[in-house]
């Protein structure tokens, strides 16, 4: 039972830290996604919806983008949570060293960080979903339903980012992951257009990315009955399995790598 108590202690510490720092993160967590939704959804959407060529969506473009951004936002929040704070804890502020001379173990620390990550994701994505509902982009109930896969997707990114960051010497690796991982996925994994629009050879690449699975799953739940052209025919359990395996692998590796890094 100590494991649960200890993880909750870490959650409490993260919450106290969050109370002090949430203002500084407001732009990346809340404002940017909403700006994307407004810019892409309304502005670009008004053109798309008037019809351009033969690639017409059966739903308003803003609905398409809002559901995509819910998952993409989860990716960014999750990655952010698993990257910079981890580097700070290991190297910049060395706060993890301080935690590990209390009764907490590395596993307790990671469990707490991920548990807090899930709470933080639920909150951040909840706010975004609420705004999307107010914009009329998604219906309230489907939006609520879509929160679950979005949080799962975000957690998968957080867990893997935590594991990788635990092995990085410095922050250049984080910027590299951002540039060559997060940004391309943001653009090409189905957030802004169906992956069927990609060149044939790129489509399987997109399907292999975790963000695609989060995006497709979010849409299948938030837009029930929506057909091909918006979502793929891949069964939902495949998406869930992909994201659960990714979360579990990231979680276990994070414990292992951090143990190796800090308990030498």
């Amino acid at each position: 039972m100590a494991a649960i108590t200890n993880a909750l202690r870490q959650v409490e510490a993260d919450y106290i830290g969050y109370r002090r720092t949430w203002r500084g993160r407001i732009i990346s967590t809340f404002l940017n996604p909403v700006l994307f939704l407004a810019g892409m959804g309304f502005a670009l959407g008004s053109m798309v919806d008037r019809g351009a060529g033969d690639a017409q969506l059966p739903i308003p473009f803003i609905t398409f983008v809002a559901t995509g951004l819910l998952a993409a936002n989860a990716m960014q929040v999750g990655f952010g949570e698993g990257a910079w704070p981890i580097m700070a804890g290991i190297k910049w502020r060395k706060t993890f060293d301080a935690v590990l001379v209390t009764p907490l173990t590395v596993a307790d620390l990671i469990n707490g960080l991920l548990l807090w990550g899930a709470i933080h994701l639920a909150f951040a994505l909840g706010v975004f979903a609420l705004i999307a509902v107010l914009f009329g982009a998604i219906e309230p109930l489907p939006a609520l339903l879509a929160l679950f896969p979005a949080v799962l997707g975000g957690l998968a990114f957080q867990a893997v980012a935590t594991a990788i960051t635990s092995r990085l010497e410095d922050e250049t690796g984080l910027t590299t992951m951002m540039r060559f991982g997060i940004v391309p996925m943001f653009l090409f994994s189905g957030t802004f257009f169906p992956i069927s629009q990609l060149p044939d050879w790129l489509e399987p690449v997109a399907i292999a990315t975790p963000l695609f699975h989060a995006v497709d799953l979010v849409r299948k739940l938030a837009l029930p009955g929506v057909g091909e052209g918006v979502v793929t025919t891949i069964p939902m359990w495949v998406h869930v399995a992909y994201l659960v395996v990714m979360t579990a692998a990231g979680w276990l590796l994070a414990i292992r790598f951090l143990e190796r890094r800090l308990k030498k």
Binding site: E12, T95, V99, P103
Partner: protein
Amino acid sequence: MSQPLVKATGLTKKFDDFVAVDGIDFEIRPGEAFGFLGPNGAGKTSTMKMITTVSPITAGEMTVFDLDPRTDGATIRSRLGVVPQENNLDEELTVEENLYVYGRYHDLPKPVIRQRIEDLLAFAQLEEKRAAKVESLSGGMKRRLVIARALINQPDLVILDEPTTGLDPQARHVLWDRLYRLKQEGSTLVITTHYMDEAEQLCDRLVVMDKGKIVAEGSPQELIENYSTREVVELRFAPGQSQAGVEALDGLAKRMEALADRVLLYTDDAEHLIDEIHERDIVFDQRLTRRSSLEDVFLHLTGRRLID
């Protein structure tokens, strides 16, 4: 005599091929201030990390509170207070929040933590800074906060890894005063340092470490008596003159150490030695007579100075 809080035999730590701690034996008894004195890289911090169960033991045996660090890490850590070499405070939180969070990590009830925060803020002389963010504190204040944080669980053993390194002299004295108070109140302290004066002021007993080994053990006074003389005469020569000076001084003192910038002469009777120097007409720039310190013990034992 009561059971030692820490007991180590043949304690060894290796990193790949590098031997950081090379089979050391020591015992830390309740109520004493025990020091690990040695230069950087002597193995002091590695030893501390094994006691705090952060670093796995490579070989040898150690018990902390009669428990095995390999299997009882969490229980051991719950009874330890740890002041690491580098301040690892949460800079974004306030002074009070740093203490509170640490109390929670130790699973203390909130009312208990609140009471202890009051006591510790008074102890660390940080009452007026309670609501200040840590990043705004001075180096000395941060150090005192780290010490206060280490005391939140009322530890049976407080481990201080180079508590005053990097502080200005005034801040060091304030800190020593606090540590001295802890000692008076009966806390058991383990202190690593490469400062002689710190070890002499605070430690009841200490070991001198060099290259992973313990080279001497005792109270500061015993060590000076055993490994040095009562007094030291330091001579400084004009540039280019010291080689000739060293030759001329040959045989005068019990022992002589020629350093880069000065020559140390070890004697039990400085006045007599100075007379003899004058008789030999040895020309030097400056002369200083002082009592022997742990620095001299270290120099004698290892042939090197503590801080180069």
